[in-house]
Amino acid sequence: MIEINNISKSFGDKGVIFDISGVFDKGKTNLIIGASGTGKSVLLKCIVGLIHPDIGSVLYDGRDFTDADKVIKAEIRREIGMLFQGGALFDSKNVEQNVMFPLNILTKMHPGEKLDRVNFCLKRVGLENVNTKMPSEISGGMKKRVGIARAIVNNPNYLFCDEPNSGLDPQTSILIDELIQEITLESDITTIVVTHDMNSVMGIGEKIIFLYKGSKLWEGSKEDITQSGVKEFDDFVFANKVMSSLRKP
């Protein structure tokens, strides 16, 4: 479980997120949603420690991460896996080396064990026989899947996904969403997904936090979406015709 308390962040004079609190449950796919520029990615970066919030704290299973010393931070970070928007695969390494990288740095496993684990993770995300391919030789969807394999290779307790569907076709998006949800359930980990894709929201949104202009306006699950009672949230959710048709009169 991850708990965030009163997180605020500004860059210079410009406030980006304001006083956001919430709890992200273990074994669930937790979503942070909102329109572009509402501070979703900044909030995610505050949670994983890539940005230090001006105010507020982040607790990983009760352990304070924001103001922890370097040793505790490093310990918690070893329990984190993250899928970046563009995959963030290392250009100079092939698929196998990319997935093996966290094992090389963070563990003392034998080479054979590492290779087994890498092959297991690649198989888990539906990729086989691509070990020697370079990131430039694979498609966007494959890059995302390699990114997921790299994120889960070290058996993380916390999985973060920053817009996992951006730039993907609808079918591949659904595959990626399902994969994230399956991994969350089978490994019983805390997963946070940042997205503005309503297909993802309706597909895997077990717990949803809606951000609007840097503030949290609504919290619930995909079942509660049609009865939020928040105008800004309704405007976001029902912006497209398909979603609009689901709206109750």
């Binding site: 420690g49 890539l50 250009d91 966290p102």
Partner: protein
């Protein structure tokens, strides 16, 4: 001054939360091949031609019958060891290796590869930059030695083949009144310049913000700042060590 402060803090950050020696050893070897071995051809070409041109121009200017011919190779030797090999090569090294370092790190920054390292609990600055600086400190002095040798050899070939100086006079000039400290001075300069170029270029690349355009700007800034730093450093080292 603010930028200089950030640079000092950046250098300091390279030495905290380091990875294992084995990790750095492998990375330093990879970087050495990338920035050292792959630069040899360019260094050999440039230095050989510089030595050749220096010989031709010195011979052209020494027209007095009272000045012995071996002075040509003495001038070539001093110019190459003191200035052309360590300093002019540093400018070429900044253009080739410095821009590549800044461009590589800048691309890693904008494609979130540096963030990926940080999320894994790795000190990205130390992991990515320290091996580049160490590899530079190892390889650049070697490149300067190669440049010095090729420069003098280039001068020898052009001088003797062009009948400007006999091979005997050239070798005699190279060996006569030789001050060994010039070699020490050139090597001190090469270490200082290697550190300056690799650290400044890495600093510029590491803090790239934006997109592809900004990566290009970082690469240009890396070369410009490195070259200015090298020239200023060159003057101060000459003042400090040659007076």
């Amino acid at each position: 001054m603010k930028e200089f402060g950030r640079y000092v803090m950046f250098i300091g950050s390279l030495f905290v939360r380091r990875e294992s020696f084995k990790t750095y050893y492998k990375l330093v070897m990879e970087e050495s091949v990338q920035i050292g071995v792959k630069s040899i051809l360019l260094i050999v070409l440039v230095s050989a031609f510089m030595g050749a041109v220096t010989t031709v121009q010195t011979a052209f200017n020494l027209v007095s019958p009272f000045v012995p011919k071996f002075v040509i190779s003495q001038v070539v030797r001093e110019m190459i060891i003191l200035e052309l090999a360590p300093t002019i090569m540093a400018i070429i090294y900044a253009g080739k290796v410095g821009s590549s370092m800044a461009g590589g790190l800048g691309t890693m920054r904008i494609t979130e590869q540096i963030d990926a390292l940080e999320v894994m609990g790795i000190n990205s600055a130390s992991y990515l930059v320290l091996p580049k600086i160490i590899a530079s400190l190892l390889m650049y002095p070697l490149l300067v030695i190669v440049a010095g040798f090729c420069g003098i050899l280039g001068g020898y070939l052009v001088g003797s083949l062009g009948n400007m100086i006999t091979p005997y006079d050239y070798i005699y000039g190279i060996r006569s009144s030789f001050n060994e400290f010039t070699i020490t001075f050139a090597l001190i300069k090469s270490f200082v310049f290697a550190f300056m170029i690799s650290s400044i270029s890495s600093f510029k690349g590491y803090y790239t913000k934006g997109g592809a355009l900004e990566v290009g700007i970082s690469s240009t800034a890396a070369v410009t700042s490195s070259v200015i730093a090298v020239l200023i450093g060159d003057y101060f080292l000459a003042e400090l060590l040659l007076k």
